[in-house]
């Protein structure tokens, strides 16, 4: 049996073993998960040299495609898998520690939560590696269901009037809610929190949306099968073209769940509540793993749907529709994030906006922007994970998700706030940080394709302006002194940090600091030396641009594609 199956087997093993072994202690579960992800990451990195030399397909159980299932290991898929496992490992490390004095057993950190997260990771890895449409559907379902369960199990800190009003709370909860909303937050952790309305409604929305989207994909698969008798993506590459309107409909149906996972308008109404309701560690995974893996799958599908394939006739219109959707997503995402009071929602909407940029880049003809879209995706994954982890930490310290209540935390934890700023600046696309190169590359490709793409560029630029404002607002409020007015002498304001010795709160736990440092270092490194990532991204982009030689022929045994 091929040892590459380990890539999928490890998360499955975690999800099955954890409920068995970790009955008593959730900590054991968390350690198992962390070690497993670390091992998977190491394994992935070990596979790199051979895969970079030549991509290869791994046939499972000896059944050749188009009937059997093949996993495709290439720079693109392996790179994405490495990213996924990196973020999974760092999130697991984050879950190992307690982010603050708040010891409420949040959903993501119990044994059940660990198992579900492993399933989510499996879904992400699987949809990147697979070459089969139905397989992709299955992995999307796995990811979706585990996400739904995890979001529902979240115990978010009270983040707004709506949450406080809907929930039938105990008096203990109400008192902590009131206390949490005051500026100098020091919430008493109640013994066991009631299920939160935000989590429940968020997860329900996500479920409804995801299931509807899956239904559509199933319909699309059915239609495709009836028209071509094929289910594998590579077979579609050199297939004679389908009728144009049929092709467009099928393509869009197939793309539904991926578009949903990547928060494209109008399928992103679940974003706000789901992210707000999710536990902090899982929010990082949802964005870093879920959106990234889905985006890679999207890129793969789009590259297959390019010219010279079954969808040849509809390529132009498809591009147009996707360009429009992408631009709308950018505008909607950034605009919605602007006014949000809940930090997690801000980050979630920002994710949606960034995915819009990815879609715009992916929708450009001839894959011009392929390399830069991948770079953008990678830098976004890293930066967003960083932001979500730190957001969780700050939320725990402030007792609430509202970013206005986190004012001044940066003075107590300057390193954490500094790293948060680094992540924010990277997302804004400012130089010295990774996001700059990605955004620059995508914009350049958009501008050089001319025509209607220029409107998309305008949308991205407008989005950048809005994004800059709200991110800097949040980043700066971390550094503001809590009771500052313009007349107060500096000495009073600087009291917590300058010369007074011990800060007022406990230091940042290692489980938060370590992942954050690694991610921030990655952001800086990619910003200063982008060529480091290009070594992997360049061949990955080539794979997307010319799917025929790089992709299809490697998977299908010659002559077996019809």
């Amino acid at each position: 049996m091929h040892h590459e199956i380990l890539l999928l087997a490890l998360p499955i093993a975690v999800s099955f073993l954890v409920p068995l072994l970790a009955r008593r202690s959730a900590a054991v579960a968390r350690w198992i998960a962390f070690l497993a992800y670390l091992a998977a990451l190491a394994y992935t990195l070990a596979l790199f040299p051979s895969v970079m030399a030549s991509a290869r397909a791994v046939i499972v159980a000896g059944w050749l495609p188009p009937l059997g299932i093949a996993l495709f290991l290439s720079p693109l898929s392996l790179g994405a898998v490495a990213l996924v496992y990196l973020i999974a490992a760092l999130t697991a490390l984050y879950n190992l520690s307690s982010p603050g004095e708040n010891k409420r057993p949040e959903g993501g950190r119990s044994a059940r939560g660990v198992a579900l997260q492993a399933l989510f990771v499996l879904g992400g890895v699987g949809m990147v590696l697979t070459a089969d449409l139905f397989n992709a559907f299955v992995f999307l379902e796995i990811a979706g269901i585990s996400a739904f369960a995890l979001v529902a199990s979240g115990r978010p800190l009270q983040s707004g009037r709506a949450a406080a009003a809907n929930v039938p709370v105990t008096s203990v909860e109400k008192k902590s809610a009131a206390a949490a909303d005051s500026k100098t937050a020091s919430a008493e952790p109640p013994a066991e929190a009631a299920p939160s309305a935000v989590s429940t409604s968020g997860s329900l929305r996500y479920l409804v949306a995801a299931q509807t989207a899956s239904l559509f994909m199933l319909l699309g698969i059915g239609l495709l099968y009836s028209a071509t008798g094929l289910l594998t993506l590579p077979s579609l590459v050199s297939h004679p073209a389908l009728k144009s309107s049929f092709g467009l409909l099928t393509a869009l149906l197939l793309l539904f769940p991926v578009l949903l996972e990547t928060k494209i308008v109008p399928l992103n109404f679940w974003v706000g509540r789901a992210y707000a309701g999710a536990p902090a560690g899982f929010a990082a995974s949802l964005s870093g793993i879920g959106a990234t893996a889905a985006a890679v799958l999207l890129l793969r599908m789009l590259s297959v749907m390019g010219s010279g394939s079954a969808f040849a006739g509809t390529a132009g219109e498809l591009r147009g529709v996707l360009l429009l959707l992408g631009s709308l997503t950018v505008l909607v995402g950034e605009t919605a994030a602007f006014r949000e009071a809940d930090l997690k929602k801000v980050l979630a909407w920002s994710s949606a906006g960034q995915m819009g940029v990815v879609l715009v880049g992916a929708a450009l003809p001839a894959g011009e922007a392929a390399a830069w879209v991948l770079f953008f995706l990678a830098s976004h994954a890293v930066a967003k994970a960083l932001l979500f982890l730190l957001a969780g930490f700050f939320a725990a310290r402030a007792g609430t998700n509202r970013w206005k209540a986190m004012k001044g935390l940066g003075r107590l934890h300057p390193l954490a706030a500094g790293m948060f700023t680094v992540g924010a600046l990277s997302l804004m696309g400012l130089p010295l940080f990774a996001g700059f190169w990605g955004k620059l590359g995508v914009l350049r490709a958009v501008f050089s394709s001319g025509g209607p793409a220029v409107l998309a560029a305008a949308a991205i630029l407008l989005g950048t302006v809005a994004e800059g404002v709200y991110f800097l607002r949040i980043a700066h409020s971390l550094f503001e002194a809590p009771e500052a007015e313009s007349g107060t002498p500096e000495a009073e304001r600087e009291a917590p940090t300058v010369g007074s010795g011990k800060p007022a709160r406990a230091p940042v736990p290692a489980g938060v600091l370590l992942p954050a440092l690694i991610l921030a270092a990655a952001v800086l490194l990619l910003g200063l030396r982008p060529s480091l990532a290009m070594r992997v991204i360049a061949p990955a982009a080539r794979e997307l641009v010319s799917p025929d030689e790089q992709y299809a022929q490697k998977i299908l045994p010659s002559g077996a594609s019809r």
């Binding site: 409909l249 994030a337 400012l430 620059l440 800059g468 800097l472 503001e480 500052a484 600087e494």
Partner: protein, 629 residues
């Protein structure tokens, strides 16, 4: 690793290290800053004349190219000099009570400044521009909420400018295929006959970006917030150096487009585009002055004064001759030093008294004479009065207008210049003269290091005023290379100047002589004064009050100091106009509508069943439209 690259890389590195490791060591941070400023001045000295020097920073995916050009060197040298003086001041200013902690970020900003001035290609320029943007945001905001509001206002306009810059960058790339600054501009300029629309678009986008950065035209209101709320020593850097970036970029990137290859319409000899820019500059000058007259906050007043001066510079640039560019550069340089002097003296006042409002100050000249003199010299230069430096540059600006017979444009310039006396004097009287409040009776003069910085700047102002060639000769030499770009021969292509004389279209002036004449008159009058009978000192409240005693009315010195709403009659005249044409209100309502839009979008997309229905409906529509085609 040559003299160009070393500071560019070393400075941010030192800055980051300083930020991470030396957070508590305040003095060390500012000492490092002073050393960095000194190193930059040394670099400027090293780089002079070595115009062939260039450096490339390879990052794999792109190479950032830097080139030592005369124009860039001029700006770099001027700004480094000013930074050194400010660094001297800052070392003393940032003590325990007043420390703003921005030294590390400021060092990164210095590197970004150098990058902007020496950029050899578009990407390098963009990188430096963006770094300058976010570091200056954090410095201006420096952890205070009121400063944050000012800073985000500034940064939003800056972001809009950057968006325009990006659009221009990519358009240039697409049109000319090269990213090299000089090469792409030359190629673009050659496209005037073939694609005038495209070139005009690029020029327009660049103009929007750079007008926003230099607070000209519709972007005039941000310095009043940003310069006023920034740390006091940084305000001097903001008004002195940072606001000039846009003008530098205009000279470097936009003017070459209107060189000899220009084939479009001209008005009075200058391209239409530049003519319109000139009028924008003139109107900005007037608007800035009118707004400054109304101000009661000393820093806001001087910020509006800066806006007004930027207007003069834009006017000088709009004549599109070498003489005009020289006048603009000269005024930039003069403005740097006299505004630096003014803001540093204001910082010294704030340092000792903690006040910024004019009506709460007063009489400080009696306690802080050196600070007073620095301010006085600064405002004499700002008003453009000989023998200080401001006169020569303003004169040259007007002469450059004469050379094109653009005399109508000279009207707002002269109006603004005259009206500037009003607010400059108000600052002088409100802060330094009049009655001294008992609260400040024991105010000590500024610390020695601060006084040293101010003295050096005063000396510079006076020296350049008496010997304008000190600044103009380097400017002329630097612009020698600009002939091919702007246009050789013809009107205004020469910059006749000697050490003491400046020559223009309609006359020539030997400023050294004027300066000595004034000195001589002063000595003569002094003799006359001494011939008169001796005078006796009297108490402050012992003034003419028609025979009554102010003490009987319980009059305090603060009440007796006339400073609040100093120009009430004038304000009565201009307020209706300013109210009706308030651009700030327009921006406010724009921001408000955006915020409201944001809230409704977020709500619409989170509203449960309704949201789902709308989403699916929208998708169905798109599908039907897509399929039906």
């Amino acid at each position: 690793m040559n003299a160009l690259l070393l500071p560019l890389l070393a400075l941010p590195a030192i800055g980051i290290v300083s930020l991470l490791l030396f957070r508590r060591a305040r003095v060390l941070q500012w000492l490092l800053f002073l050393l960095a400023a000194g190193a930059l001045v040394a670099t400027a000295a090293l780089l002079y004349g070595r115009w062939e020097l260039s450096a490339g920073l390879s990052l794999g995916v792109a190479t950032l190219g830097f080139r030592n050009t005369p124009l860039g060197w001029l700006f770099f040298a001027f700004s480094s000099g000013l930074t050194l003086f400010i660094a001297l001041f800052s070392l003393s200013y940032n003590d325990r009570r007043h420390s703003s902690g921005v030294a590390p970020l400021w060092m990164i900003l210095l590197a970004a400044t150098m990058g902007i001035f020496f950029a050899g290609d578009w990407i390098a320029f963009l990188v430096a521009w963006e770094i300058m943007g976010w570091t200056s945001f954090f410095i201006i905001a420096h952890g205070r909420e009121s400063s944050f509001r000012a800073s985000i206002y500034y940064y939003t306009l800056s972001l809009i400018g950057t968006a325009a810059l990006l659009a221009a960058l990519f358009t240039v790339w697409r049109l000319t295929g090269t990213l090299d600054l000089d090469g792409s501009l030359a190629a673009l300029a050659a496209l005037w006959t073939a694609q005038p629309g495209a070139v005009t678009l690029v020029a327009l986008l660049l103009a929007v970006s750079f007008l926003a950065k230099s607070a000209l035209g519709p972007f005039f209101m941000w310095p009043a917030l940003a310069h006023a709320e920034a740390p006091d020593d940084f305000s001097a850097y903001l008004s002195g150096v940072m606001i000039k970036y846009g003008l530098f970029a205009l000279v470097r990137l936009v003017l070459p487009l209107f060189g000899p290859a220009y084939a479009g319409a001209t008005v009075q000899g200058t391209p239409v585009f530049l003519y319109i820019l000139g009028w924008i500059g003139g109107l900005t000058a007037v608007w800035g002055t009118l707004l400054a007259v109304r101000e009661n906050d000393m820093k806001r007043m001087m910020a509006y004064s800066t806006v007004s001066n930027m207007g003069y510079i834009l006017v000088a640039l709009s004549v599109n001759t070498v003489f005009g560019v020289a006048a603009a550069l000269f005024h930039i340089f003069n403005h740097m030093i006299f505004k630096g002097t003014i803001f540093l003296s204001l910082a010294a006042v704030k340092y000792r008294t903690g006040e910024r409002q004019l009506h709460r100050l007063g009489g400080l000249a009696y306690r802080m004479p050196v600070t007073f003199f620095a301010f006085l010299i600064g405002i004499i230069a700002a008003a453009g009065i000989p023998p200080m430096s401001g006169f020569a540059s303003k004169w040259m600006v007007i002469q450059s207008l004469f050379s094109r017979r653009m005399l109508l444009l000279a009207v707002p310039v002269l109006f603004a210049s005259t009206a500037s006396f009003m607010y400059l004097y108000r600052g002088l009287h409100g802060i330094y003269l009049g009655q001294l409040s008992p609260r400040f009776r024991d105010v000590r003069p500024a610390p020695p290091l601060q006084m040293l910085a101010m003295l050096l700047l005063m000396l510079a102002v006076y020296a350049v005023g008496t010997f304008p060639g000190l600044a103009l000769l380097p400017i002329r030499d630097a612009l020698a290379g600009l002939q091919e770009v702007i246009g050789a021969g013809g009107v205004g292509s020469q910059i006749p100047v000697t050490l003491g004389t400046i020559m223009g279209v309609s006359s020539r002036i030997n400023l050294t002589t004027v300066s000595f004449v004034f000195l001589g008159s002063f000595i003569g009058v002094l003799v006359l004064y001494l011939l008169g009978k001796r005078r006796s000192r009297v108490e402050w409240l012992d003034t003419y009050t028609a025979g009554e005693d102010p003490a009987e009315w319980n009059m305090t010195p603060e009440q007796y100091h006339y400073a609040y709403r100093f120009y009430e009659p004038f304000e009565k005249m201009i307020n209706p106009l300013l109210e009706r044409l308030s651009l700030e209100r327009a921006y406010e309502s724009l921001a408000r509508s955006f915020r409201r839009l944001s809230g409704s979008v977020a709500r619409a997309l989170s509203g449960g069943g309704a949201g789902v229905a709308v989403a699916l409906l929208a998708l169905a529509v798109i599908l039907i439209v897509g399929v039906a085609r």
